[in-house]
């Protein structure tokens, strides 16, 4: 005796039992876990459905090209950025300027927004249980999410690179590029090295992405999880500004964002590049493995357990701290350089080499008789704050006198440069006379008027090279 009234099916409902019975009576699908490929596609569908990701893809594939094209139309150049002063000379300088900017800001932020959110989004939406029931394997969920976020990050990175390349080639052209030591790379060499530089930058991007995965797994819906890659990248940039020992600097997972510079010297500075890429990849693998271990141990029946908790934070952070210590020790033991890695001998060598290469460029621009680097026999004598022997370290107080010889000329030419050397080994040489050698004047080049190449130029000191 209850007051419950039986429900009376409507006409439509009376017509439905056949459909319901048909759907339910089919042979059940196999109980095997969903394949990683299908899981990855599922994750990609979710990622791409977010307006934020769509906007990022659009911006990454359009904005660099527009920027490079816009700079090509401007009279001033972003000469404070590496290769910025060559953006009117070749289309291959544009993607390198984009790469320098991306390594500082864009790639860390992209990894934050993609990898840093890929697990946290499920916490936010409360969909973990649904996903686990659907996929039937936490391991495969992890792999699918990691691969999907990797796919999107590679897509965004490729967009940044190719958009810059297309913008540069369309507006400036496929022309030779002046390298960081002043030597001229042919257009095809420049193309290969630009693409290789972007490929090298993928390694620290993957390291940041893995840190993003770890933060997303560990911190759940907390905003800190989302921000972790950006914060780590910021910390690494700050570290690069500090006068750290070269062993520590090179062992940081973000060093490959700097060490690609070595591709544009002759010979290529492969040591820092390979170490930087290797360290970054080890970080990527380690952080991903830690995220995986924390994820598969998570208890999905506890709704309060959004993220793996504080203990997991310690489990995630301590191994990475240990990895950093091991990297620093290994690089420190293997590297021939000590201290800051910036010594007087290396600065003099780098400056003289760049000067000799650029002297040839200037000679060609001014239609003077060609000379070779061997004929020039350029050398430099540098002091830092008036100190000669023993001068070392970063600073804007380096002053160098470059000497060179010309064939059939008895006198030795001399020019003065002020050098601003940053802690990562990059320097800007600013000509300080004589004016007809390294002062500001325009020269006529194949692409139009350009500043005297010996007036101001970029260079770098290979930190890991032996002092002598």
């Amino acid at each position: 005796m209850t007051s419950t009234t039986p429900t009376t099916p409507t006409t439509a409902e009376r017509a439905e039992p056949a459909a319901a019975t048909r759907a339910a009576a089919r042979v059940p699908a196999a109980a095997l876990p969903v394949s990683v490929a299908r899981g990855c596609r599922f994750e990609l569908v979710k990622l791409v459905s977010q307006w934020r990701i769509r906007l990022l893809v659009l911006v990454c594939w359009v904005a660099p090209g527009l920027f490079v094209a816009a700079v090509a139309e401007q009279s001033t150049l972003p000469s404070d950025t590496l290769f910025g002063r060559w953006m009117h000379a070749t289309g291959w300088a544009g993607p390198l300027v984009i790469l320098a900017f991306a390594g500082t800001w864009a790639l860390p932020l992209l990894t934050s927004l993609v990898a840093g959110d890929v697990f946290a989004a499920e916490d936010r939406l409360g969909t973990w249980r649904h996903l686990l029931v659907a996929v039937r394997s936490p391991r495969r969920i992890f792999v699918a999410k990691a691969l999907a976020s990797l796919t999107v990050i590679v897509l965004l990175t490729a967009g940044l690179a190719l958009s810059g390349v297309v913008g540069g080639l369309l507006t400036v052209g496929h022309r030779p590029l002046v390298g960081l030591d002043g030597h001229v790379l042919s257009a095809s060499d420049a193309a290969g090295k630009v693409l290789l530089a972007w490929a090298c930058a993928l390694a620290p991007t993957l390291a940041l992405a893995a840190i993003g995965l770890l933060g997303s797994v560990t911190l759940g819906r907390s905003p800190m999880g989302l921000l972790l890659p950006a914060l780590v990248a910021l910390a690494m940039q700050l570290a690069q500004l500090l006068p750290l020992p070269v062993g520590v600097r090179v062992a940081l997972p973000g060093y490959a964002f700097v060490s690609w510079n070595g591709l544009f010297t002759d010979p290529v500075q492969s040591g820092p590049l390979l170490i930087g890429v290797g360290v970054a990849l080890v970080w990527a693998v380690t952080a991903t493995a830690l995220a995986y271990l924390l994820f598969v141990r998570r208890d999905f029946t506890n709704p309060a357990a959004a993220g793996a908790g504080r203990r997991a934070l310690a489990v995630g952070v301590l191994p990475l701290a240990a990895l950093l210590a091991v990297s620093v020790a290994a690089v420190g033991a293997a590297a021939p350089a000590t201290g800051s890695g910036i010594t007087r001998a290396k600065v003099q060598r780098s400056l003289a080499t760049a000067f000799a290469h650029l002297y040839r460029v200037q000679t060609a621009d001014l239609h003077r008789p060609a000379v070779t680097e061997a004929q020039l026999r350029a050398s430099a004598a540098c002091t830092k704050s008036g100190v000669g022997d023993g001068a070392q370290g970063a600073g804007n107080d380096w002053r160098c006198v470059v000497s060179w010889h010309l064939p059939d000329v008895a006198a030795t030419g001399q020019a003065i440069y002020q050098l601003d050397i940053t802690a990562d080994g990059r320097f800007v040489a600013d000509g300080d006379g004589p004016k007809d050698v390294n002062g500001y004047f325009l020269v006529r080049t194949a692409t139009g008027d350009a500043p005297n190449p010996l007036w101001q130029f970029d260079g770098n000191v290979e930190l890991l090279a032996a002092a002598h």
Binding site: V45, K46, L125, H130, V133, F300
Partner: protein
């Protein structure tokens, strides 16, 4: 459950749980739970907040593993692996849906997980599932704008899409309007009729009474009742009933003079001036009805103030809570 319908012939029980225990640290969430659910049956699961229902549903869905006891689902023992058993679908704590996708795309993505995302058959199944839960008209709207009831229905559609042999649902009627409730009930009844076992956890006793043949009540991690609803009603003999008659004064006098009946309230109650609330076992109530008819008093309405299930639920769980 023969093989004629293409199903595995793996016994009549969809769920057989014996002595299931589950702890979270020092908290004992499940303490020796036994549960039998027959195929083709809608089995209700009720209990106060924190009783362990969600933990139990999580075990059935493969979201966690029991610390002790044995669990067989659809004839297969559940191991220690964290994975949903074969043929099981459903949701706990609300359905998992992605707000940036449309209803159809949510289901399509799920179908894609099983390798059927773009086939014509999958499309037909998605349309069929949406139709069953009454969401055809909003199939191409983003879930972001869905009400709670629509999300519940879409969650049910997602479960239907996997063609479950055991469907585990946690509060599927949350947020549903009367039409939505009728849709959902219709779907569950048809699923059960086709042989699917349904475990339905709900705080809504009207849902359980309307749909379930059997019900299990848990409190503080233990089963305090499991069996047919009729048995539950019989075990709780005294209930409060509301009477509406043609002569309230006569009815009150007759009720007061009937053995086993006590008048709880009469006159100006929230049920109206002509109503009467009495507390009585069923047999005494039958006697009162006979006397009213014999005295020429028309009986216009007779209904329990709270449903037998709700009364039993309160009696069983309050006793358990008090004991704790």
């Amino acid at each position: 459950m023969g093989g004629s319908d293409g199903r595995q012939d793996d016994g009549p029980l969809a769920i057989r749980a014996r002595g299931i225990t589950k702890c979270f640290g020092d908290v004992v969430a499940l303490d020796g739970i036994d549960l039998d659910v027959t195929r083709g049956q809608i089995h209700g699961l009720a209990g106060p907040n924190g009783a362990g229902k969600t933990t139990l549903l999580g075990l059935l869905l493969g979201l966690s593993v029991a610390d002790g006891g044995s669990l067989e689902i659809l004839g297969a023992p559940v191991g220690r692996a964290l994975a949903a058993p074969d043929g099981v679908a459903g949701f706990v704590d609300g359905p998992g849906l992605y707000p940036s996708l449309t209803a159809r795309r949510n289901l399509g993505a799920l179908a894609g997980l099983r390798g059927r995302g773009r086939s014509a058959a999958a499309g037909a199944d998605i349309d069929d599932a949406l139709d069953q839960v009454g969401l055809t008209e909003v199939a191409d709207d983003k879930v972001r704008g869905f009400s709670l009831g629509m999300r519940q229905r879409l969650g049910l559609a997602a479960a239907l899409l996997t063609r479950p042999r055991l469907l585990v649902l946690d509060e599927p009627s949350n947020g549903l309007d009367p039409a939505g409730t009728r849709h959902v009930r219709g779907v569950l009844e048809r699923l059960a009729a086709s042989g699917t076992a349904v475990v339905l956890s709900s705080h809504r006793m009207d849902d359980l009474e309307a749909l379930c043949e059997e019900v299990t009540i848990v409190a503080t991690g233990r089963v305090v009742f499991s069996g047919p609803l009729a048995k539950l009603a019989a075990e709780n003999r005294e209930l409060d009933y509301r009477l509406l008659t043609s002569d309230a004064c006569a009815a009150r006098e007759l009720a007061g003079g009937t053995d086993g009946i006590s008048v709880v309230s009469s006159g100006a109650t929230r049920y109206g001036a002509d109503s009467l609330v009495v507390r009585a076992p069923v047999a005494a109530l039958d006697s009162l009805v006979s006397r009213l008819v014999g005295a020429g008093v028309a009986l216009r309405e007779l209904a329990p103030v709270v449903s037998p299930l709700e009364a039993a639920f309160l009696a069983l769980t309050e006793h358990k809570e008090d004991a704790r």
